[in-house]
């Protein structure tokens, strides 16, 4: 090994980075070559100057500001989820995309269906509630001492298509027993819409024999003729025989009887 080669390896030799064989060759050379020996000792001295060089110590500020910075960064940093390495999964991801689109569409349709179902349900509920409310109001007002209030109560039933028996019975009661003829007449008019009910039919026939007010009698006859209720014939004939019956009413009854036969 030449002196230049020694020079080129002296650092690694001192640092102990060389292979043992190479180190031995250099050691032998150094021991036999004065200039290389000097070079070796000087390099060692230089390196010990490096290691003697005091390591500069930062002040406590560095650690403090580091800790502050770290706290700040911890708060700022969003929860990072490392991206999945998506290698050789292109067909898989297409399937995934397709699946998510399918789910999206299904969700949309299902949502729409649910929505319309819900709103239909809601409307039905609302209608039901409204009916209930009207029925309740009608029942509450029908016994009111004021005739006009009673008429109003009867009129509430106009909007009902299928009133329960409770309502019908209340109306019939008004028709047969109310002291005010206007209330009775309104009740008859209200009941004329529900002639499908057997209860209503029989009570109308019944009322025909009780009622004294001619205008109400005429109204009932007209209703019964309209629905071709044959059972009304007998009470009508009885009515005709009544001597106190006004002439115009007699005419109406006769016409009704003629229409029914």
């Amino acid at each position: 090994m030449s002196c230049t080669e020694i020079e080129n390896n002296i650092v690694d030799y001192i640092d102990g980075l060389l292979a043992p064989e190479d180190a031995k060759v250099i050691e032998a050379h150094i021991n036999s070559c004065t200039s290389c020996k000097k070079m070796y000792h000087e390099t060692k001295q230089l390196f010990s100057a490096f290691s003697d060089e005091p390591i500069a110590q930062p002040t406590a500020n560095l650690r403090m500001s580091f800790e502050q910075m770290l706290e700040k960064e911890k708060q700022v940093q969003p929860k990072v989820i490392p991206l999945q390495k998506a290698k050789n999964s292109s067909y898989k991801s297409i399937l995934q995309i397709a699946a998510s689109i399918a789910i999206l569409i299904t969700g949309y349709l299902l949502g729409g269906y649910q929505e319309s179902k819900n709103s239909q349900q809601e409307i039905a509920n609302y209608k039901n509630e409204q009916k209930q409310l009207k029925e309740n109001m009608m029942l509450a007002m029908i016994d009111n001492s004021s005739p006009s209030k009673r008429i109003k109560a009867v009129n509430y039933t106009e909007e009902l298509t299928t009133p329960d028996t409770k309502i019908l019975k209340a109306l019939i009661e008004r028709m047969q027993q109310d002291s005010n003829s206007n209330v009775r007449l309104t009740a008859v008019e209200a009941l004329s819409k529900f002639t499908n009910s057997e209860l209503v039919k029989t009570s109308l026939i019944e009322t025909l024999s009780i009622e004294k007010d001619p205008s109400i009698q005429i109204e009932i006859i007209q209703i019964l003729v309209q629905i071709q209720e044959k059972r009304a014939l007998n009470p009508m004939k009885k009515l005709l025989k009544k001597p106190e019956l006004p002439n115009y009413l007699k005419t109406q009854v006769s016409i009704g009887i003629a229409k029914l036969i």
Partner: protein
């Protein structure tokens, strides 16, 4: 945490657990501080720069691609130093001139007195050589990692270090005897 290698710690940091940064700080803050201190003899500036290295480690944690951590962190430190150096050049052209003409005021003279013979000798090297020898002899960075930091290869770094040592040795003993 202290059982883990630098690289493993950095993986944890990159995964979002910043607590591992404390361990990295413990292992590197003195080395980094000295890396700066050999170039800039200003405690406050060096502390700032050291602090910035750790901040950058956090900010760029996702760009750490699993190489030797020591190379990566010193690369960050080196870039920060060059940024600082460029800024100083722009903002203080007057000092620069003063340094070139060698007109030192009393204060600078006094400070020079405190500086060791080795440090004075280091000033005979150019900036790049001084950085290399400081990294190798003071910060204890190996050839391979220096190569990664300066984008070179280990053989070239080894050759350079030997050349620098030769120059330094000559200067050191010439000025020592005189």
């Amino acid at each position: 945490l202290n059982q883990l290698s630098d690289e493993e710690l950095m993986e944890i940091v990159a995964g979002g657990n910043l607590d591992a940064m404390t361990q990295i700080f413990e292992r590197y803050h003195i080395r980094l501080y000295n890396f700066f201190f050999q170039k800039i003899r200003d405690v406050a500036v060096c502390e700032d720069l050291t602090q910035n290295v750790f901040l950058k480690v956090i900010k760029y944690k996702h760009s750490y691609k699993g190489g030797k951590f020591v190379s990566w962190i010193f690369k960050i430190a080196r870039n920060l130093f060059y940024d600082y150096y460029q800024e100083q050049k722009k903002s203080q052209p007057f000092e620069e001139i003063e340094a070139i003409t060698g007109e030192l005021d009393d204060e600078t003279m006094e400070r020079q007195e405190e500086v060791s013979h080795l440090m004075k000798t280091l000033n005979c090297l150019n900036e790049k050589d001084r950085e290399l020898i400081v990294m190798n002899r003071i910060d204890g960075v190996k050839y391979e990692q220096i190569a990664e930091i300066i984008d070179s290869n280990a053989v070239a770094v080894k050759t350079k270090i030997h050349r620098i040592v030769k120059k330094l040795r000559t200067n050191y003993f010439e000025t020592l005897t005189s």
